[in-house]
Amino acid sequence: MPLLEATRLTKDYGEVRVVDDVSFVIHRGETLGLVGESGSGKSTIARMVLGLIEPSSGSVSFDGASITGMPQSRLRPLRRRIQPVFQDPYAALNPRMRVLDIVTEPLVIHEGGSRARHRLKASELLRSVGLDDSALPRYPHEFSGGQRQRINIARALALRPEMLVLDEPISALDVSVGAQVVNLLRDLQRDFQLTYLFISHSMPLVRYLSTNIAVLRHGRLVEMGTRDEICDAPRELYTQTLIAATPELRLA
């Protein structure tokens, strides 16, 4: 059984159809790369998968249980298992909270427990994303974009989720910092047996991280297949354009 299954997802905003009949499955431990240009509906798909917005029609199910149409209170147990990392590391962290409180908020919400235990857990989490304890008492604005994205990732990992929805996690970062974060994501996937929905507009990145790739254009899936199928023998003209448009990015 796939871990995540999206069936005929459609989202309309008024007259505009942002996502049109999109279906895909992601199996445990895999990474589905969702690639497309700006405005192709990638982030909307991410939010529907996370249960943050309701699809106009179609459904999402996670580990066999439906996410679609559930009240927020019923989604809580599921929240532990699927977590987002958003695009803009500046906007995704509450500027008025200390890193300690940001990273441990998931624990406070879902587990309770003592502050001492949270602190221990927080420094463990920060270490796993390549930061140290000195970050704990500081505020987000004291960090660079790459460091903030690491904090975002640490928060997403706090509850030991099975799946991360990565909504363009590195498009706001410069190339070398982005490469570090991508490598971190790859290591974390191995260490924590994570399943990824990796959303990006960059074909080389998607190619580097994904097992399967889905190409999105104007809210529709134009092509979907394994990484090698898409990258080595793209059938659609649009996919070929996307591959040609982005220069090869060498990752260490």
């Binding site: 939010r47 943050l52 987002p84 962290l93 908020e105 975002n152």
Partner: protein
Amino acid sequence: MTADSITNTARRQPLAILGLALLALFFVLAVFAPLLAPDNPAAIDLTHRLAAPSAAHWFGTDELGRDILSRIIFGARLSLTVAVSVVGLSLSLGLILGGLAGFYGGVIDTLLNIFLMNAFLALPGILLAIAFVAFLGPGLVNLVLALSIGGWVGYARLVRGQVLAVREREFVEAARALGASDLRIFLRHILPNILQPVIVQAAIGMAGAVLAEATLSFLGLGVPPPTASWGSMLNDARSHLFDSPHMVVFPAIAVMLCVLSFNFLGDALRDYLDPRTRMSIGL
């Protein structure tokens, strides 16, 4: 805040320090009024009525021979009590109603914003307050209620707008994806991020409340005599405007300084809480 940064702030924002110092003075006067006032503010002494400022009565006496300095000191008590209660009450109402409207949107927003807030905004606050006091009768509690009824809408409007803006930010979405409850999202994620304009508005609202209290007392709709109030002192002075101008000058100065200090404080807070200027102050 270290001593160094205080002197630093003082150099950059002398008005802030002036406002703060004046406010501190008014608060001390209000809290320790019975100890600081040279006389009983209600003690009538008809042999020394309408006396000009002298060593015995620094600010002179009014038409009943009451010591004006003492009445001003006790008046500070009333003005600040009213200001703090009015701002506290209207701010709470504004936070709750504006927060609900902004946070949930939809029908709740339509009901609260379009109908309730617009209806209240359409009525001039001071007329509403006058009508309310005329209906319920004068008194401290009624005065506070009357002024809050007109005052909450401004806060609700501000809070609603701010909540609408912050609600769309990604960290709120991230908190929702973590499974945070609505209350938690509002209190931990939205409220701290909308607080700075609200605090500024509250400081300036204090000035408005002091003025409104003086206005209502001037019209005889404030706290009934013999309680000392700057507004009612001004009212008493009306008939002696030319023969005993000290009766007007001192309460008027008190109102002016109090309003001014709250306004200075509001301005300073706005500068201080804005992260961009905050950098330049070195915090």
